[in-house]
């Protein structure tokens, strides 16, 4: 039977292995709030699981019998990523065990037969598990990065209602196609929700404007117009103004201002015009109503 000798050693000298193993990992204790008690608990659980695995005769992490230990390792790995451990510090969990266990198997390594049946399989198994923690570490790390990226896109494109019928959209960071889509979707939805008529697109926080970015901005403006709202672009720095003209980008159909304050002034004027228009129409209606009432009265008087 493979690994039976090691199983004996593991059972007999478990406490010794545990002590040494925990001692090796002690430098990590305290990092990210991991206490030495917690470390010990993880080690105990792993050794128990390892005992079961070897007893079952499984030799690689792909074996369904190793599922509990694989799950446990993934859990440990995920926990360590969250606590800010480095990849090495995460993989040390397994490799430090190997360092302790292999010397114990030294006598077995001298005999060729026991070497190939005892030491090699165990070494391979531990290596594979070490790699598993590493891989899990990377997966978790990628997840974290993806989530952060999403957060950044969300955070850097707020749509603010700054006045009745006026939205402001301070853009921060470089505009790529994906972010432009987020901006566009959020802006359009907000226009529908607030029935705003003017949107101020502030590009003070956009470091560079190339033809691609300009194209994205034009698209946003066109989509906004389809919803019956106007866009004012503000925060055009001298450098950006120069680039835009040098690139030959035509922004003539769009209102632009140097500062957000100027943009707001313009927006207020644009919405106020509509308001006075509305007011005038209201007055007209009123006048019409009065006139109608008067003629009706006159007719009544005549009859």
């Amino acid at each position: 039977m493979k690994g039976q000798k090691f199983l004996e050693i593991l059972r007999k000298r478990k406490d010794e292995i545990l002590e040494n193993w925990v001692k090796r990992q002690l430098p990590l204790a305290g990092k990210g709030g991991v206490t030495s008690d917690e470390l010990r608990r993880q080690c105990v659980e792993f050794l128990d699981l390892l005992e079961n695995v070897i007893q079952s005769g499984a030799s690689s992490p792909d074996d369904p019998k190793t599922a509990p230990i694989v799950e446990f390792l993934k859990e440990v790995s995920r926990d360590r990523v969250m606590r800010g451990f480095s990849p090495t510090e995460t993989a040390v969990f397994i490799f430090s065990l190997k360092e302790i266990v292999l010397p114990m198997l030294q006598p077995l390594a001298k005999n060729e037969e026991t070497f190939s049946s005892e030491v090699m399989p165990l070494s391979l198994l531990l290596d594979q598990m070490g790699l598993l923690t590493f891989e899990q570490y990377l997966n978790n790390r990628e997840e974290v990065i993806a989530r952060q990226q999403l957060d950044m896109t969300e955070l850097s494109t707020p749509v603010v209602k700054i006045w009745e019928g006026i939205l402001a959209l301070p853009l921060i960071g470089t505009l790529d196609s994906r972010r432009t889509m987020t901006v566009m979707e959020k802006l359009l939805q907000k226009i529908v929700d607030t029935t705003a008529t003017v949107a101020i697109l502030d590009i003070t926080g956009v470091p560079t404007v190339d033809t691609l970015v300009a194209n994205h901005i034009m698209k946003t403006v066109a989509a906004t117009r389809l919803l019956g709202a106007e866009v004012i672009i503000t925060g055009v720095s001298p450098a950006i103004a120069q680039t835009i003209v040098h690139l030959g980008v035509d922004l003539s159909g769009i209102q632009t201002r140097a500062t957000m304050a100027e943009g707001l002034k313009l927006a207020l004027r644009m919405t106020k015009q509509q308001m006075t228009e509305e007011a005038r129409n209201g007055v007209n209606l009123l006048e019409k109503g009065i006139a109608a009432a008067q003629t009706a009265q006159a007719r009544k008087g005549r009859s």
Binding site: I191, V192, A223, G228, E277
Partner: protein
């Protein structure tokens, strides 16, 4: 085949599209609408597409064509209720419907229509006035001469 109802409200025609438009239905709508403009001598048309989820290039063209045709018949077409997703698709398709006035909802559309028509009437009146003035000037010059 289904037909799109066209409702007359004062001097405005209201076209409310309640389903996703099949190509043939869109064409019928165009013909019907132009017919109604002729009958009622409407000055304004509001096409409400707030229920439409999908606007492809064909429908985009039908809409802009209809607007141009109505224009020739002296009616202003305003398209209202374009959904955000539809707006994004149209822009991605390069259909910016620049020649059609658009508004957020029917209410805004009516307001826009009123402004447009008033502005046009003004322009016509101004034009007539300036022509009249021109003629007067000419007469005066002729009289002097």
């Amino acid at each position: 085949m289904e037909k799109i109802p066209i409702i007359k409200v004062g001097d405005t025609l209201l076209v409310s599209i309640q389903t996703d438009l099949q190509d043939q239905v869109a064409m019928t709508m165009q013909t019907d609408l132009l017919g109604r403009i002729e009958q009622t001598s409407a000055r304004g048309v509001i096409i409400d597409i707030s229920v439409v989820d999908i606007v492809d290039s064909f429908l985009g063209r039908v809409l802009s064509d209809t607007a141009s045709m109505a224009r020739i018949m002296n009616a202003v077409v305003v398209v209202v209720g374009i959904q955000p997703s539809v707006a994004i698709t149209l822009v991605e398709l390069g259909l910016e419907l620049k020649q059609i006035p658009t508004a957020l909802n029917v209410e805004r559309g009516l307001q826009l229509l009123r402004e447009r028509i008033a502005w046009e009437d003004h322009a016509v009146a101004d034009g007539a006035e300036s022509r009249e003035l021109g003629r007067e000037e000419e007469r005066a010059r002729n009289g002097h001469g």
